[in-house]
Symmetry: C2
């Protein structure tokens, strides 16, 4: 390295000043842009949008008693039904069913064994009738037994090619644009955004960074154990085991948040009874809090289920009357897809 | 908000430019400072120091094929014996023993029950002779059964008052200055630094941010389950259960890294056989890797144990001949406290 010469120093300072000009320009542009740009353009004006903006302003203004230090700014988002479509069937279950043909190819004996036989028949009604016990066999066979690297490869391939039958688009395009805007808005204001999902942690981690801007280490989900060993070449491998370590639903959500994050979120977003305890736990902390529930009341643009339609609960993505009542009681903010969202998907 | 007026805009741009000048000044000062400052001043020149600096240069220079994108820059540090003193007894075990009087005060019946009776006797030799089975009873009684908030309070209080008998200083001052420098140097170069400890995750999280600059969400450790419930006022609580969820030693380290981080580290630092699998797993990834082992060979300034002294392994902080041989074989860099460290503690 050249050091100490005047020529070197002045070149260095010139570069520094050029850098500063660039920074200043970016700063200026950004300030003007911020002043004039709505951070949540896909939201209609209303209590939900207002609650988000007021919460961010209250927690990021140092002059206010409601200020939250940057390191405490943790926001937790459920995924299925909160960040992307969960109806009529979880995408991860579709993944597991789609993996069955490859599985049978690798182990031909399976084609005559239930529940694989039914899945291979392609009879949608029969598949839909499979009892939970049988479905769990499919999940275990397609989500465990391989190395974590092989699993990542299998999911990546599926994510790149599989399409939702209604919208004929990759599942990763079925994320809610208004929720993506909240993710970005919170991050722009110093929040660390976490996904806290009942879905498989390893599954969601494959696409979360690209799809939501959430890195793997900020995805908390249901997780099985892994076992460390060595392959034939002596290389260390981690194999996914059919042993549930974290069931990231209901009380499992705050428990996993404690285990994986170690801080109580100040903001949480959910849509089903599986999110109730996470919302309660978030709300119970000191200082300003934001707890929001996505209500699926738009049968035209997405789906309508839960209390908005007076429908009975379904197993998938329930939003029970009881939870809705609790939301009302606790002052959680309910997001009506129909009223609050100008657009639902980015591709619309 | 005022918008659109020329007066407003020009005041805004003035502020922006003033900000830019400050940024430029900081940038300039910082560039000069970096060019002239050794990032590892407590290290003697040698292969260990050189390995760290070369690794950082290789992984952060975009022009090199060894460049590692910022999001992949994960560094994992064992704690006991790697970041702070572990000899002759883990600080967390001292904490558990120190908690016994309060425990007996709360449940007086315990004072006549072993192993609490022996601990209350203050007979150091008898305490040291307690079998593991009995020690585990003390750990369970002092690390579980309370809410996570109460536990945090108890540990904070102890950390603020307890002192190591040899140095007569708080345990948090017994961190190795050269390792603190690596933590800071890596972070300054875009690395996310994680502690991956066999010690209790909840315990280490209490002081890790203040002591090491490592936030709770970047502390991975042995962890028990918690249970979500409600206290008498109906407030949600998480209670620590005597049920081991993660044993973050040996193969448990890469398994926990996968669970908690979901990425393979590119750099790892350890000192005992409990770190072997973490180092192997780190090394086995593609691209540049840094795997380092702290060798306790300085009986005067700290302690000497392990292969450097030809001592037999002890239960605490072993650094077996086998691990040392593996380090040599795999090209892991051994850090000799005696030769490589100019200073060991910041207070010296």
């Amino acid at each position: 390295m050249q050091r100490g010469s005047i020529a070197h120093l002045s070149r260095r300072s010139m570069i520094a000043w050029l850098g500063a000009v660039a920074v200043a320009y970016a700063y200026l542009t950004c300030s003007i842009a911020t002043a004039q740009t709505d951070p949540l353009p896909s939201w209609n004006d209303g209590t939900a949008k207002q609650a988000i903006i007021e919460f961010v302003q209250a927690t990021t203004n140092r002059a206010k008693p409601t200020f939250v230090p940057p390191e405490e700014r943790i926001a937790a988002f459920d995924q299925d039904g909160t960040l992307w479509v969960e109806h009529p069937i979880y995408s991860q279950v579709v993944y597991c069913l789609d993996r069955v043909p490859d599985l049978v190819k690798a182990k031909p004996g399976l084609k005559d064994v239930e529940p694989f036989k039914t899945v291979m028949s392609g009879d949608r009604e029969a598949i839909a009738r499979l009892p939970t016990r049988e479905l769990l066999k499919i999940l275990a066979a397609t989500l465990t037994g391989m190395t974590v690297d092989d699993f990542r490869g299998q999911v990546s391939k599926w994510i790149a090619s599989a399409k939702d039958p209604r919208w004929k688009r990759p599942y990763t395009e079925l994320t809610y644009l208004p929720m993506q805007e909240i993710l970005g808005y919170l991050r722009a204001n110093g929040y660390k955004t976490y996904i806290v999902t009942g879905g498989g942690q390893d599954f969601v981690r494959v696409y979360a960074e690209q799809t939501y801007g959430v890195p793997p280490e900020q995805v908390v989900g249901s997780a099985g154990g892994t076992t460390y060993s060595y392959n034939k070449s002596g290389k260390p491998i981690l194999t996914k085991e059919p042993k549930l370590l974290l069931n990231d639903n209901d009380a499992g959500k705050p428990e996993s948040i404690h285990l994986m994050i170690g801080r109580r979120p100040v903001a949480a977003f959910g849509n089903s009874t599986g999110d109730r305890q996470m919302l309660e736990y978030t709300e119970a902390g000191d200082g300003p809090r934001l707890a929001m529930l996505v209500l699926h009341d738009d049968g035209e643009r997405e789906y309508a289920y839960g209390p908005a339609q007076g429908l009975p609960d379904t197993k998938v993505g329930t939003f029970t009357q009881k939870l809705y009542a609790e939301a009302m009681k606790n002052g959680w903010t309910v997001i009506s897809m129909k009223k609050d969202w100008k657009r639902i998907f980015a591709f619309e």
